[in-house]
């Protein structure tokens, strides 16, 4: 072992000095920086730490429940889970891996998930829905996998469930995500991007009442967005409940009847309206083919939607309010009322029907009954639905000196009976229909009005178009003594405690300009239509049904006898003595109104009085 001692060389000594200076200097830099961050800017960072973990979450209100006339629930909130992303909690570099992990769980492509997440970046603190209505076990997995799925959570978001499925789709409509073009509208009203709103039908008209008020929850969340502690909570206020005048039982029964009628006649579509004559409350409103609104409420698939949208029989269109049909012979009610009111209840004047009417120019206008009705007055003209009589009454007869009541007067009468304008029902998408006048024809088509136009209009053909609801509403007005009501699907808005908040009072839209006597005569005539007239087929109905048939020609392929195809129509009311319910039945291209439409009205009234009405007494 050497005895030599080792000395540090000068060079080494200097370097060790340097080393120590570097070490201490570096530590001083760390201390200085720590001082700056923790002491100088500490309060600022503490705020940021609190902002990180303290969140204000909104608590979605439960949507109001919809009841039918019998307090049966027709729209409820079923428990369901939606998978949502809060982008603030999802670090950007983890988006892809999280999306891939979710793709397998949610059974949707990870690209779609990433697209939705991208949209979610617009409002990173708010939940962005990735998929609605996931099965419960998937929701559980998502919650368990929380550490691997930062920012992703499964939240309870009830889905709307509708009783009645296909039969109530048109009336109730459905709820869904806010449509893009309405985003701003709803955001301005305090909605959030992930809210559901009523898209169609009653759900959309009564959105304000049904939606409710959101609540607030101040919570502490962890880095993965999961709530750790609730600090304060303002509960949400559920939406108000809605009671309809619509009767689910009747609605479903009528749907079946109409469906059978369509099958029997081979018609592609049809519509039935039944309403209370006194209040205008709609008891049934059926448009076939329909759609199951549950499909929409549970976020409809692309294929299902395409199938509905491309179906030539247009299942997405509510035919009762948006289907336009020539009123045909049902329109004779207007001519008759006008005649009686303005021509001193003249039931003496008669015209003779030879099965057709020929103008001097050689134009010939046929009556549906080729053999002719013979001589008849206005009353019989309606009961037997003689076309020639009404041609003459409106357009004048070439065989007598009678000039006719004229197209302008008829148009005015029709307008006062509700034709050519929407009834104002509480449903979106209602059509006005059309009531032609000479002035309009000149303006729109740049053609003069011919006598033939008057003839066509007289029997509700030509350019006249109406909705089934307009026909039912007119029948109701005739039945209730002349008050044209605003038809109403909803009857009452209730608080969640069950107490009535507001009943939707019946409102009169206008009074028919006809005296009680005139209306009485018309009701008698409508009764006789069933008792011994064109609708004798349903004369056996025990509930005093009264109505008017219609067979509306429309442009289409003619049959082997050269006849145009026809829609089958029937409108009326029952019972005759104390009218209670008015209805209109239309079957697209089915044929004779008496053959296809009237029997449905027959079944409808039977069902109404035997089941619905008796159950309520």
């Amino acid at each position: 072992m050497s005895e030599e001692k080792r000395r540090l060389t000068r060079r080494e000594a200097i370097r060790f000095y340097l080393l120590r200076i570097v070490l201490l200097g570096s530590f001083l830099a760390l201390v200085a920086r720590l001082w700056y961050i923790q002491i100088v800017r500490g309060p600022e960072y503490r705020d940021q730490a609190e902002n990180n973990s303290l969140r204000v979450l909104s608590v979605k209100p439960l949507r109001g429940v919809i009841y039918d006339w019998n307090n049966q629930r027709v729209a409820i909130n079923a428990p369901s889970f939606s998978v949502v992303a809060r982008m603030i909690d999802l670090p950007r570099d983890e988006v892809e891996s999280v999306a891939r992990r979710l793709a397998a769980l949610l059974e949707m492509p990870s690209l779609t998930i990433m697209e939705r997440m991208n949209e979610g970046l617009q409002s990173p603190y708010l939940p962005t829905i990735l998929k609605r209505d996931v099965p419960h076990h998937v929701a559980l997995i998502i919650e368990e996998e929380n550490p691997y799925l930062p920012g992703i959570s499964a939240e309870s978001r009830p889905v709307r469930e509708y009783a009645g499925g296909d039969s109530v789709g048109h009336v109730l409509g459905y709820v869904g995500p806010i449509p893009h073009e309405r985003t701003e509208f709803y955001l301005n009203r305090g909605y959030e991007r992930d809210d559901q709103v009523g898209i169609a039908g009653i759900e959309s008209i009564y959105e304000t009442e049904l939606h409710g008020d959101k609540g607030q929850r101040n919570v502490e969340v962890n880095a993965y967005g999961r709530t750790v502690r609730v600090l304060r909570e303002t509960p949400s206020r559920p939406g108000k409940n809605l009671v309809l005048g619509l009767d689910l039982e009747l609605q479903e029964a009528v749907t079946t009847m109409l469906h059978e009628g369509l099958v029997e006649s081979g018609a592609p579509s049809g519509a039935v309206v039944a309403m209370d004559v006194a209040s205008g409350a709609v008891r049934a409103l059926v448009s076939l083919p329909g759609f199951d609104n549950n499909l929409f409420a549970r976020s409809i698939s692309q294929e299902d939607y395409a199938r509905l949208a491309n179906d030539p029989s247009r299942p997405l269109v509510n035919q009762t309010i948006a289907g336009l049909y020539p009123p045909a012979s049902t329109f004779k009610l207007v001519s008759l009322a006008h005649w009686l009111e303005n021509y001193n209840m003249d039931l003496d004047m008669e015209f003779t029907c030879h099965g057709q009417l020929t103008l001097p120019g050689g134009w010939s206008f046929g009556c549906w009954k080729r053999s002719g009705h013979g001589s008849l007055n206005a009353y019989e003209g309606l009961v037997r639905s003689c076309d020639v009589f009404f041609y003459s009454l409106v357009g004048g007869s070439p065989y007598t000196k009678f000039e006719g009541i004229g197209p302008e007067a008829l148009a005015q009468a029709a307008t006062s009976c509700g034709f050519g304008q929407a009834t104002g029902i509480d449903l979106p998408g209602e059509q006005d229909g059309l009531m032609p006048t000479p002035e309009r024809k000149q303006r729109v088509k740049n053609e003069p009005w011919f006598q033939g136009d008057s003839y066509n209009t007289a029997i509700g053909q030509g350019d006249v178009l109406s909705t089934p609801l307009q026909l039912a509403n007119l029948s109701a007005a005739i039945a209730n003594g002349g008050e044209l009501m605003y038809p109403r699907v909803a009857a009452e808005i209730r608080g969640t405690d069950g107490k009535q908040v507001k009943s939707i009072e019946p409102r009169v839209a206008r009074r028919l300009p006809y005296s009680a006597e005139v209306l009485s005569v018309i009701r008698n005539a409508m009764r006789d239509v069933v008792a011994r007239g064109t609708a004798i087929r349903i004369a056996s109905n025990p509930f005093g049904i009264a109505g008017k048939t219609g067979t509306a020609e429309y442009p289409g392929p003619r049959d082997e006898d050269g006849h145009l195809p026809t829609h089958a129509l029937f409108t009326g009311f029952a019972p005759f003595d104390e009218p209670e319910i008015a209805f209109a039945v239309v079957l697209y291209g089915a044929g004779e109104g008496s053959q296809y439409a009237a029997p449905i009205a027959d079944k409808l009234t039977r069902f109404y009085f035997e089941s619905v009405r008796s159950a309520r007494q």
């Binding site: 072992m1 080792r6 923790q38 570099d93």
Partner: protein, 395 residues
């Protein structure tokens, strides 16, 4: 054997600082894994590793570090083989292949390679006279360092690669290699780094760019850096209380019990707690430099310098990264971060220092003062006060 004298020369300050730091680390790991409610597996593992560290410190003075001279090349060769093996058969976690799995434990060869590198470089420069001035030995040392550094870089592990280079730089400098060599190589290295930057892995680039402004993309690459800085700042003077930091407990801070454990400390124990830990590190490093200067030979001195720089660089880079002074690199904090390989490696380093300390005074002559310490500072209890040779002789 003069066992008593050996224990007299044992550096208790060094051991105390190391064990206290390790214990603080366990408390912080407990805090970071509090969500698991029961004492986590990680806490138990770390405690076991700390126990092994204490055993190493107890055994170390009985072993003469000078034996390592003959084992240096074997150790170096073994570590290179391990680094090669891990590239072939290692486990890949988070896109980086750095570990062997052995039952419930994972072994990180790059940690142990640090010790092997330190020992081989120390031996390389001290095995013959005038090697430090010889440019051939200088380049030889570059090759010795480059082999493991390259293997680690391929894992990829940029942080550890830079550690290797840092250890080499400090050891070469402290061994007395002429400045001109060092400057020349530094310039060359900078050029090489610049060229590397062009084809560097994307995540490494992100770390560099987000270091410059972590708030630019808070949900993206800057997330960890930003959350770490928020955690540290939110601690303020006294901290938010142990187990009470919202950043830590609500997991805004990621990889918190590993690379970001200092942020847990700073949040929950505040500026005061951070200072205490930094002071412990400073004490430990100062003691280490004193051991280096009092080593009986260049071999020991070089090893001590290597261990000092290894601990210092990791501490500075790790803390600097957390408080936003340096870019985010995956470097654990010595003693405190969770990780068995790292903890054991660090304690082996401290054990080497103790062995050097204990074996520095076998001679009977007085060591000349290394540098002048003012008389008023020569208080026995002060940690930077070395025991003079005379005193040790007297006893």
């Amino acid at each position: 054997m003069i066992v008593v004298r050996k224990w007299k020369l044992y550096d208790y300050w060094l051991t105390a600082a190391a064990i206290v730091l390790g214990a603080v680390g366990i408390v912080l790991i407990r805090s970071a894994t509090l969500i698991e409610s029961e004492v986590s597996v990680d806490v138990m593992k770390q405690t076991a590793f700390l126990g092994m560290g204490v055993v190493i410190l107890a055994i170390a003075p009985k072993l003469n570090y000078r034996w390592l001279g003959s084992l240096a090349w074997i150790g170096y060769g073994a570590s290179v083989v391990m680094l090669l093996a891990v590239l072939i058969a290692g486990v890949s976690i988070g896109g980086s292949q750095r570990w062997f799995l052995i039952g419930p434990f994972s072994l990180q060869p790059s940690e142990f390679a640090k010790i092997a590198l330190i020992v081989v470089l120390a031996h390389y420069f001290s095995a013959g006279p005038h090697r430090v001035e010889d440019i051939r030995y200088f380049f030889g040392s570059i090759v010795i360092t480059a082999v493991p550094a390259f293997l680690v870089f391929r894992e990829p592990d940029l942080g550890t690669t830079l550690m290797f280079l840092g250890i080499w730089g400090a050891m070469v400098f402290m061994a007395g290699v002429p400045f001109k060599y060092i400057i020349g190589v530094t310039v060359g290295l900078l050029c090489a780094v610049f060229l590397q930057l062009i084809r560097i892995k994307e995540y490494m680039w992100e770390r560099i760019t987000t270091f410059l402004d972590p708030t630019a993309d808070p949900l993206g690459a800057g997330y960890n850096a930003l959350q770490a800085q928020i955690s540290v700042g939110a601690g303020e003077l006294w901290g938010r209380g142990l187990f009470q930091g919202s950043q830590t407990q609500l997991e805004y801070l990621r990889v918190q019990h590993k690379d970001f454990v200092f942020a847990v400390l700073a949040e929950e124990l505040g500026f005061v707690g951070s200072m205490l830990v930094l002071v412990l590190f400073a004490v430990l490093l100062m003691r280490a430099t004193l051991i280096a200067t009092s080593a009986r030979d260049h071999f020991g001195q070089n090893i001590a310098v290597g261990v000092t720089t290894f601990i210092f660089l990791q501490t500075f880079v790790n803390v600097g990264m957390i408080i936003g002074l340096l870019p985010v690199t995956g470097i654990p904090l010595p003693f405190l971060s969770y990780g068995g390989s790292a903890l054991i490696t660090t304690f082996i380093g401290i054990g080497l220092l103790q062995s050097i300390a204990v074996h520095s005074r076998v001679k009977t002559y007085a060591m000349p003062p290394v540098f002048h310490v003012p008389a008023r500072a020569r208080l026995r209890l002060l940690p930077w006060k070395t025991q003079s040779a005379e005193e040790s002789n007297r006893s």
